[in-house]
């Protein structure tokens, strides 16, 4: 008998047994035991025995105190990383959009770059709108960058009269679901010397008498063509895709704050791959989740599997101070308390010089410092010391 999701699973029964055996299991493990008990139709005695055995196995699997988890995590992420460099595929993840993948992307994540090379968003819609293609296309055109030349039927520069004449194509406007008056308004705002006669517009440069008149005119022509008439800041191209039964938008560039404010956009599933933006809009905990998700999907996409616990540790370290910090010189390694630890990493001279100027004291509590001075390191069995409580000796004080 297979337990289907949604079937009743008696978690409470297992919880009781676990409590009786004085084991502390995470929620998921308890659920899995309950599921197994259901599937195998275990009696109370059998369940008792199972929990007892699992408790033993769980204790054995637990990370011991004093274990160098950071070093293990570094090696566990680093080893598959060496395989990534050999496969330098850099192909598109979504249809026509180019997304940085592989090692460059992983480095970007742990370095906590402010400007990532290919920011992208996945925009989903609320239930009522998701299947409505027309609505999604309208929103896509509001989000994606559209410039004036995208909606022009004719564009000509007249060097005799020193003016530029353009004709707006009504069909193109309709096709892009834009508003005619809105566009005219934007043009009027951007250019001072413009004459509007329905769909035919003529522009004149503001400075016409100077000897650089022709250059001015050409500059103006570029300006007219590149005038942005629609779109959200920082977002470029958009791609509309059908995913299952609903429509979704993928973008080049990212602006989570602005997109989440739009009507009809799903405020639960819409995400970006820019970790700093997630931090700014959704907070530090969301940034932590985002780091884990991005790092893991980057590894998985390359066909490599790393235990999430290692990535979680990295994400925890990066977000523990309330802001996203990078791993390395400017982040975690650069903020270590010990002078010797910092000096052994990078920029040795700088750190030693500064420490001597300030008169810093190294308390030799870390690993690296103790290796440098040649002492046993506080790790594993070395992490325990002997403390004498003088009260206890023979009852004397």
């Amino acid at each position: 008998m297979k337990v289907e999701p949604g079937d009743f699973v008696d978690v409470e029964r297992v919880e009781k047994v676990v409590k009786k055996k004085r084991a502390k299991f995470p929620e998921k493990l308890i659920y899995e035991i309950a599921e197994a008990a259901e599937r195998r139709d275990l009696s109370d005695d059998e369940l008792d025995e199972l929990v007892k055995e699992i408790k033993k196995a769980y204790q054995r699997a637990k990370v011991e105190q004093g274990e160098a988890v950071g070093t293990v995590a570094a090696q566990s992420v680093g080893e598959p990383g060496t395989q990534m460099t050999m496969r330098t595929f850099h192909y598109a993840g979504v249809a026509e959009l180019n997304v940085t993948l592989g090692l460059p992307r992983l480095i970007e994540i742990v370095d906590a770059r402010k400007k990532i090379s290919t920011p992208t968003m996945a925009i989903y819609f609320e239930e009522d709108y998701g299947a409505d293609e027309e609505f999604v296309r309208t929103i896509a055109n509001r989000i994606g960058k559209i410039i004036l030349s995208d909606v022009l039927a004719d564009f000509s520069v007249n060097y005799a009269s020193m003016s530029i004449t353009v004709e707006i194509d009504e069909d193109k406007i309709k096709d892009k679901r834009l508003d005619h008056d809105e566009i005219i308004g934007k043009i009027e705002k951007a250019f001072k010397k413009v004459e509007i006669d329905k769909n035919v517009l003529s522009f004149e440069p503001t400075i016409s008498e100077s000897k650089h008149a022709i250059r001015e005119l050409r500059l103006l022509a570029d300006k007219v063509r590149d005038l942005q008439i629609s779109g959200v800041k920082n977002i470029g191209k958009v791609v509309i895709r059908k995913e299952g039964t609903e429509w979704a938008i993928h973008t080049e560039g990212s602006n989570l704050g602005a997109v989440l404010k739009m009507e009809g956009v799903d405020k639960v599933r819409t995400t970006t791959n820019d970790i700093h933006e997630v931090e700014k809009v959704l907070g530090i905990e969301a940034a932590r989740n985002s780091i884990i998700h991005e790092a893991q999907s980057t590894m998985e996409e390359q066909g490599l599997t790393v235990d999430v616990r290692h990535i979680m540790l990295v994400a925890d370290m990066m977000t523990s101070d309330g802001i996203v910090k990078s791993i390395g010189r400017h982040g975690i390694s650069g903020e270590k308390a010990s002078v010797l630890a910092r000096a052994s990493f990078e920029e040795t001279g700088k750190h030693l010089l500064r420490a001597s100027i300030r008169g810093e004291i190294d308390h030799l509590t870390g690993i690296i410092e103790n290796i440098i001075v040649g002492q046993p390191i506080p790790l594993g069995t070395g992490s325990v010391g002997v403390v004498m409580k003088d009260k206890k000796i023979g009852g004397r004080k």
Binding site: E27, Y31, L260, K267, K280, V281, L282, I284
Partner: protein, 77 residues
């Protein structure tokens, strides 16, 4: 809008602990509050739930390994 972010799939549950709860948690973990991970007072979520500097937030994460995981963060400036 401000409350909307709390529903986002990337944002776990944040709740403010009362003084007595906070004390109990610190005692259980056997640490000082400065040893907790931090969260900025101007963090969007901290602002949305109205946390003040010095508060301790209880964060209930959805975890791939443990199912549900409870952690704490100290609100700092």
């Amino acid at each position: 809008m401000k409350k909307d972010i709390l529903k986002h799939k990337l944002v776990p549950d944040h709740t403010i602990l009362s003084k007595t709860e906070a004390k109990k948690v610190l005692k259980e973990l056997n640490i000082h509050q400065e040893q907790l991970p931090k969260i900025k007072v101007d963090d969007p979520v901290a602002k949305a739930i109205g946390a003040k500097t010095g508060d301790i937030l209880k964060i209930t994460r959805k975890s791939q390994t443990a199912g549900r995981f409870v952690t704490y963060r100290l609100v700092i400036n």
